[in-house]
Symmetry: C2
Subunit: 215 residues, 2 copies
């Protein structure tokens, strides 16, 4: 059955899912790339970017698993870009160039309406100004039998967790310190929200933990 | 050279170093034993408690390393026991029975003076009412060439980290959720306090991370 999931989302030892001060030079905030430094080594990521190499093993298996079977994505406005407020000239088309790595409809949460944006390779950005429930409804419809992946960022994932709308959450706990940034789980009582640890798998560069919502 | 260190201290995926509501039945707070559930499986811990079995491997190696070369311990009042305020009849002698697992002088931080307490097996509890610096001074003197281990709990470790007095911190990041309790690192900017990740080692039941203070 189609699931709503968060996959391959990294948190630092001190609990941050992004660094502070996101801008054009720091898509995941200052120091935030260290969160992704398990993913960047995987064959999955390297192939996505046209390189024939990359590591195999548990981290790579989970990176692949996170990308399989997805029919639609949901992203927060800030994960789509550093532009704030109205979209101005509409020249910002995401961090990913002409061919973003999604290849599905991607629903972007925003308070500011904008026309859909079709990219090379099947990625279709659609801007949803009427909230997380509306975005999820549209994403589920677009995904059909496949899963909806909530890509991030931190604020978006927290909103969907608080609303009890995430079925499965795969976190990659990373042995890095950020010191400041956006805490992913602080103040969320996940067991009270219905989440338990279903599984954990030890990788080379991360401790992978799968949380699932109780039926 | 003698070091001040925290070893084998577990934190949950959601950042807690102890559960909420510590009392006689819940020495590490409600749900807190899940934090220790890597340590309980090690041969190191099993042997400390008279059992011939237990698992070997990375988790066990690090449990042993955490206990080696220690000349004195420092504990917070609540790690010593659930009694609050004045010591009343002095009948509380720690969680550990007649022969505690320390076998060294143990300096207990407290606002309430109390006479020293000599236990079987070399553990000698000494109660220090004049603050963390005084306790560390006394512990270093007692430890001589050996290390001072700050056993916990959360509040004590945070105070020593904030004062920049910990040389090495070994955290066991555990794939468990507590939902509530005492956050170990929230609000502490460890890189700004001078700490970096020096090493990480992947165990079976925990991701072990070693933080060291820059010289």
């Amino acid at each position: 059955m189609s699931k709503v999931r968060v996959s391959s989302f990294a948190i630092s030892l001190d609990g941050f899912g992004a660094g502070p001060g996101q801008d054009l030079q720091h898509p995941i905030g200052v120091g935030g790339l260290a969160l992704m430094d398990w993913f960047f080594h995987t064959r999955t990521w390297r192939r996505m970017h046209g390189h024939p190499d990359g590591e195999t093993g548990i981290d790579d298996d989970l990176a692949t698993r996170g990308l399989a079977g997805i029919g639609a994505w949901i992203l927060g406005r800030n994960m789509f870009g550093p532009v704030r407020g109205p979209w101005r000239d509409g020249s910002w088309k995401g961090w990913w160039g002409d061919e973003p790595p999604y290849h599905t409809p991607v629903f972007v949460l925003t308070h500011h309406p904008r026309a859909p944006l079709a990219m090379t390779g099947g990625t279709a950005f659609r801007f949803v100004p009427d909230g997380i429930h509306a975005a999820l409804r549209q994403a589920k419809e677009a995904a059909g039998d496949r899963d909806v992946r909530i890509g991030g960022g931190v604020s978006t994932i927290r909103q969907y967790l608080e609303a009890g709308l995430v079925d499965e959450l795969h976190l990659a706990a990373r042995p890095v310190l950020l010191g400041a940034g956006e805490p992913l789980l602080a103040g969320l009582d996940l067991p009270a929200l219905g989440y338990d640890v279903a599984e954990h798998v030890v990788g080379v560069r991360a401790l992978h933990v799968f949380l699932r919502r109780r039926a």
